[in-house]
């Protein structure tokens, strides 16, 4: 799959333009103008400074940000994980530290939150909402990292369905993370520590799973995110293998992406005013590596080059089926052409 563009630049500032350990995105297509991307930053485990959502256009025009811990109590995040829009353009954000879904309007104004719990929860046990997906009727699906289950909620937050427990059998989970819903209302779950993706119907009935532990094509190491395009092709962020795999609807591997980043608009602007680095960079070769055997693995190759995925934590399709891969450790988004164009 060819790259369309790369977006973003690293920033270590707690406010303003630039990404700092981006963790997930949500895309708004229905504004009648430019496509808008909402990006969650989750930097600095020690202080949580800079945790916030930024939003900007596909052309990299920066619009604003919200949810900063420096702001008011209701809106701020602690350990936010994933994002999803409902049909009304309301952005839902899971926060695994506070066991809630926070809901904002498209301009970042806090609306309300949904507190999550389960009857299977024991005293002192946390829910840990991780992945979120919202269907066309605005039913909310959320995965529980600690309870190893999926809940289906009404838009108001009432539980209508719940399934799953800890394990590796069908319908069981080990620290599930990202989710998506296809056009046939089937739910896909990145079953993170079981190294597989599970597919369910809208009633939570298990349909099938694909993937197993490993590095080969079709295998996973800690898949963190899953996304389905309009043709039912499935993209999986194979996080621990530093790659993204694309499957067809039968579970066959169509493509394995390792990343091919270019310079973003914001990066060009930065290098234009830091000429010493631009010139040294132009003389460097950031793609070729001859690593010793002990460093010849996906992680080290990604860390010692620049174009490859490093920490591809999230995959999302837009309404044109372009694929967005968010990399937390390279602080950027790589956008790829739709599957069928390849």
């Amino acid at each position: 799959m060819k790259t369309v563009k790369t977006m973003g630049i690293n920033s270590n500032q707690p406010v303003g333009r630039g990404f700092n350990f981006p963790y997930d995105i949500a895309i708004r297509d229905d504004l009648g103008k430019s496509r808008t991307i909402y990006l969650l930053n989750r930097p600095n485990s020690a202080t949580r400074m800079g945790t916030r959502i930024q939003y900007f256009t596909f052309e990299e025009d920066w619009i604003g940000e919200f949810g900063n811990p420096l702001e008011d109590d209701e809106a701020k995040f602690t350990k936010p994980v994933t994002l999803a829009f409902d049909s009304n353009g309301q952005l839902h954000v899971t926060d695994e530290a506070t066991d809630e879904i926070k809901i904002f309007d498209s301009e970042g104004k806090f609306q309300r939150s949904i507190k999550l719990d389960s009857d299977s929860q024991e005293d002192g046990e946390r829910f840990g909402p991780a992945g979120i997906a919202i269907d066309s009727d605005d039913f909310i699906y959320v995965s529980s990292r600690y309870l190893n289950l999926i809940q289906k909620l009404t838009p108001e937050g009432r539980i209508v369905l719940q399934w799953g427990c800890n394990g590796n059998g069908p319908g069981e989970f080990n620290m599930p993370w990202g989710m998506d819903i296809d056009s046939q209302r089937c739910l896909y779950v990145a079953d993170w520590r079981n190294d597989r993706v599970q597919k369910f119907d809208a009633d939570g009935s298990f349909l099938r799973s694909f993937g197993e532990s490993g590095k080969k094509s079709g295998q996973f190491h800690r898949p963190s995110s899953v996304a389905v395009d309009s043709n039912l092709n499935v993209a999986v962020a194979d996080w621990g293998n530093e790659r993204v795999q694309i499957f067809n609807n039968e579970g066959l591997v169509l493509n394995v992406l390792e990343g091919d980043a270019t310079l973003s608009q914001w990066s060009h602007e930065w290098l234009d005013v830091n000429l010493d680095e631009r010139e040294a960079r132009n003389r460097a070769n950031l793609k070729t590596l001859d690593l010793p055997r002990h460093l010849s693995n996906a992680y080290h190759e990604a860390s010692q080059t620049e174009h490859k995925f490093w920490g591809p934590v999230s995959v999302k399709f837009d309404s044109d089926d372009q694929l967005y891969v968010t990399e937390h450790s390279r602080h950027r988004i790589q956008v790829f052409e739709p599957v069928e164009l390849t």
Binding site: P43, S45, A46, W266, E277, R283, L291, G311, S329
Partner: protein
């Protein structure tokens, strides 16, 4: 009184690990001392909190942009093979490389992983790995060491601080050594060193460095080095260095200082004889007998009489004190205890004088009495008493339960309580001063009259107060 074997096991785990919990001590009670040494040298289990869990919770640890001390702390606290981490710490203190200059913590973490991989193998291999380690090469400016204009930094330090010690080579040897290492550099050295110098994270975060040999700037001509002649490169120089007796003595003295008893700081070694010359001779002989194999030298050291008789002759380093205390308190030791507070907790070691990944200079840390200043001592005592005095910590709760169960009837004396609490935190020889201090915690007339022979009701709060006092004692600062 604890048995001799128990006392030795506690001593061994203090030095070759980060202390010992009462449960670990129980599990080792049926194992001979020699067998325990072997299990430390050749661990069958090297488990620790898995990286994927850590990275999911602390995503910034994935790129090691910051927080590497916290990452390492998780490893040291949760590892089942503590000697591996202890040896990494040992080499980190000798081959000191700091982020204050490098601004690239992941590259430093790669160096620490290299210490784990090569730290107990043949010293020649370790020194060669070090000479090709990107963090070390940039730390000592070897990217600027070119055939037309040598930079002596690495050539000097490999001799002075990493192998032979001052007085065992000439200034000419330094120059020839530097010539041999010309061209030993990192990939894209101009851009990488510029980013380090400017602390640049743009555009896409830090790029981790990799070793690159640049043949076009290597001096392949003849060299005279330590009495030998040839067109030496870095590999030849390392081989020659590792065959020197001075190297064996230098490494032996470092091992003695780290594992056996505090020595004077390295700059004084030239003029100050070793504390135990016979012990150093034993280690030097082992170095040559076992073909420079560090693990074999360690085996000789850990099973020697001079090691077994060296209890309480070392002051715990800040890292040893912090990690040992956290292992006892049961914090941060499994998947369910991954918590952001560890970043602040490990920073306590910095305040006590040992910031991981940021040694004060290429000399590393001065050890022994130099760990103790009035401010550092207060920090050390406060840290230990806060963590061991907190009954909410699982490890503390468990220790209190054990002691209460062991002393469940009321026929026990204050002396027995003192001994039990001391042993639980790894103190086997409790001084009179410490015991007297514990007695002052009790207001009962009987205790004041009969001292340690007084019988008391053993309650959880009492146990906790005595434990807290024990880790505030002089004995707990030593190992």
């Amino acid at each position: 009184m604890v048995s001799i074997n128990t006392e030795l096991i506690i001593h061994l785990m203090n030095r070759a690990g980060f202390g010992i919990t009462p449960d670990e001590l129980d599990s080792y009670s049926e194992i001979s001392y020699e067998k325990l040494v072997e299990s430390l040298l050749d661990p069958t289990e090297s488990s620790h909190i898995p990286d994927d869990i850590l990275f999911r919770d602390h995503v910034d640890l994935h790129a090691s942009r910051s927080g590497v001390p916290a990452y390492w702390a998780y490893r040291m606290i949760s590892t089942k093979s503590p000697l591996e981490e202890k040896m990494s710490l040992f080499w980190h203190g000798i081959f000191a490389t700091g982020n204050s200059k490098l601004n690239n913590l992941r590259t430093i973490l790669n160096q620490i992983e290299m210490f784990r991989r090569s730290g107990t193998g043949k010293f020649d291999d370790l020194l060669l790995d070090l000479s090709q380690d990107p963090a070390m090469l940039i730390w000592l400016d070897n990217q600027d060491n070119v055939n037309e204009s040598i930079n002596e930094n690495y050539g000097r330090e490999i001799l002075e601080l990493f192998s032979m010690g001052v007085g065992n080579y000439s200034e000419d040897d330094i120059k020839e050594c530097a010539r041999a290492f010309t061209g030993w550099s990192v990939g894209n050295s101009e851009y990488m060193s510029l980013m380090a110098q400017k602390d640049s994270i743009w555009p896409y975060g830090r790029i981790v460095w990799h070793y690159d040999f640049k043949s076009e700037i290597h001096d392949g001509d003849n060299k005279e080095f330590l009495g030998q002649e040839g067109p030496f490169n870095g590999n030849d120089v390392v081989r020659i260095i590792c065959n020197q007796e001075a190297t064996a003595r230098f490494i032996a003295r470092h091992l003695y200082n780290f594992f056996v008893a505090d020595e004077v700081p390295v700059p004084q070694w030239k003029d100050t004889p070793p504390r135990d010359p016979a012990a150093i001779n034993t280690l030097v002989e082992a170095y040559f007998e076992y073909d420079h194999d560090i693990k074999s030298v360690l085996r000789v050291l850990l099973t020697s009489d001079f090691f077994k008789e060296s209890q309480y002759q070392k002051i715990k380093s800040p890292v040893e004190l912090v990690i040992g205390t956290l292992r006892l308190s049961g914090e941060y030791n499994d998947d369910s205890k991954v918590d952001s507070s560890i970043f602040g907790v490990i920073a306590e070691s910095d305040y006590m004088g040992q910031a991981l990944c940021n040694p004060p200079s290429v000399e590393g840390w001065h050890t022994g009495e130099e760990w103790i200043s009035s401010g550092a001592l207060v920090d050390r005592v406060n840290f230990a008493s806060q963590h061991i005095g907190n009954p909410d910590n699982d490890g503390v709760k468990h220790i209190v339960d054990r002691i209460r169960t062991d002393l469940k009837d009321d026929a026990h004396t204050v002396g027995e309580l003192i001994e039990s609490c001391g042993n639980s935190v790894g103190i086997t020889r409790i001084s009179e001063d410490t015991a007297e201090g514990v007695l002052d915690l009790f207001s009962q007339e009987e205790v004041q009259a009969k001292g340690q022979d007084a019988k008391i009701q053993i309650e959880d709060e009492t146990i906790l107060r005595v434990l807290e006092f024990m880790v505030s004692s002089r004995e707990y600062q030593l190992c």
